[in-house]
């Protein structure tokens, strides 16, 4: 925690990584779902 307090750039880095990773995983899963449904048809 102290490290993060003293190096706020890493706080931003962690937040950014988590958000973007989260959004991309979500997108990948959605895309896979769509593709599966389209192949079923």
């Amino acid at each position: 925690m102290d490290f993060l307090q003293n190096h706020p750039l890493y706080v931003v880095g962690i937040i950014a990584t988590v958000i973007w990773l989260g959004i991309f995983t979500f997108l990948m899963r959605l895309d896979r779902r769509v593709r599966k449904l389209e192949n079923m048809k």
Binding site: Q5, P8, L9, I15, L27, L30, R33, V34, L37, E38
Partner: protein, 319 residues
């Protein structure tokens, strides 16, 4: 609508994403001379980064050189730089400066960058944490856009009765909720490092919490109704419209009329959306923020498209 799944769109999104990441991490923070003075006077920081353009050549004293430099607001001040640095007129420097009130110049402690491509604006008191602005503000704004879309689709559903609009309303509400939630989380992490605690129950935080409750209730309503799809959609659409009546008030009016820690409350100046034309932060901030708003809006449109397709296929699969 197929456009949102096309390669062109994805390339555009990727480019904007790359720009955003670059701005977030590879840009130095540069403020103005007024920031240096204000932060020193309030005992916040002795040294503050400044972005300034050199306007005159050096005129010197023994080991250091004086230059005149103009910052983003047009303040032209004297700065004192080490002899080892050789600066020309028109050079843009980003430098950590400290101010000596007795003399009338700014002492350049360290030059961060010369002629940077883009600088990140300084928000007083925040320093590097200010970069969070790139996520927190655009996400909450796009959440509002998402909720607006959801309500428009709900109204369209009530008038035209095509299930397509209901899928879109549902998708938009879900994405709006997701962005609001993310904005809240980034906000609370930011609060932890700025003000000390994760959650303060101040008016801005409370109104966002209420907003989350309202849309949780929307999804709860949809799942607890035991009716045909069509009736469920109708009732949910009505609730969505009622819910949206409170959204502008909660997101934009309430936090501005009450006192709170959050910037933009009564008594402080909102850096992004405010009624007076000028703000006292760098104009570049607007461009950076709106670029990120564009990025998240494009993301929203893409995710909405995908989610609508999933809902549509699942609906027809159930028939």
């Amino acid at each position: 609508m197929k456009f949102f799944r096309s390669t062109l769109y994805h390339l555009l999104l990727g480019a904007l994403f790359a720009v955003s990441v670059f701005i977030c991490f590879a840009t130095p923070i540069g403020g103005s001379f007024t920031d240096v003075v204000t932060l020193k006077m309030n005992n916040v920081a002795n040294v503050t980064p400044v972005k300034a353009t050199i306007t005159t050549t050096s005129y010197d004293s023994v080991a250091k050189k004086f230059y005149n430099a103009k910052d983003i607001y047009g303040n032209e001040k004297r700065i004192l730089v080490d002899r080892s640095q050789d600066l020309k007129i028109g050079d843009v420097i980003v430098a950590d400066c400290s101010y000596l009130p007795s003399e009338n110049y700014f002492d350049v402690v360290r030059i961060e960058r010369i002629n940077p491509a883009i600088t990140f604006p300084l928000i007083q008191g925040l320093g590097e944490l200010g970069r969070n602005m790139l996520f927190h503000v655009p996400m909450s704004f796009v959440a509002f856009i998402a909720f607006l879309f959801a309500t428009i689709y709900s109204i369209l559903y009530l008038r035209k009765r095509k299930m397509e609009y209901d899928f879109k309303a549902r998708a938009s509400s879900a994405i709006g909720f997701m962005f609001t939630f993310l904005a809240t989380v980034t906000g609370s992490i930011w609060a932890r490092f700025s003000w000390g605690t994760f959650w303060n129950w101040d008016p801005r935080e409370t109104s966002i919490f209420i907003l989350l409750l309202i849309y949780i209730a929307y999804f709860l309503l949809r799942s607890l109704l035991e009716e045909g799809e069509e009736k469920k959609a109708r009732i949910a659409a009505v609730y969505n419209i009622i819910a949206f009546v409170t959204v502008p008030f909660l997101m934009f009016v309430l936090p501005r009329i009450t006192q709170s820690l959050h910037p933009g409350s009564s008594g402080t100046e909102a850096p992004v959306i405010n009624l007076s034309g000028k703000t006292h932060t760098d104009p570049i901030l607007s461009y950076i923020l709106w670029a990120n708003v564009l990025l998240f809006t494009l993301l929203f449109l893409w995710i909405k498209e995908l989610y609508t397709i999933v809902l549509r296929k699942e609906f027809s699969a159930n028939d």
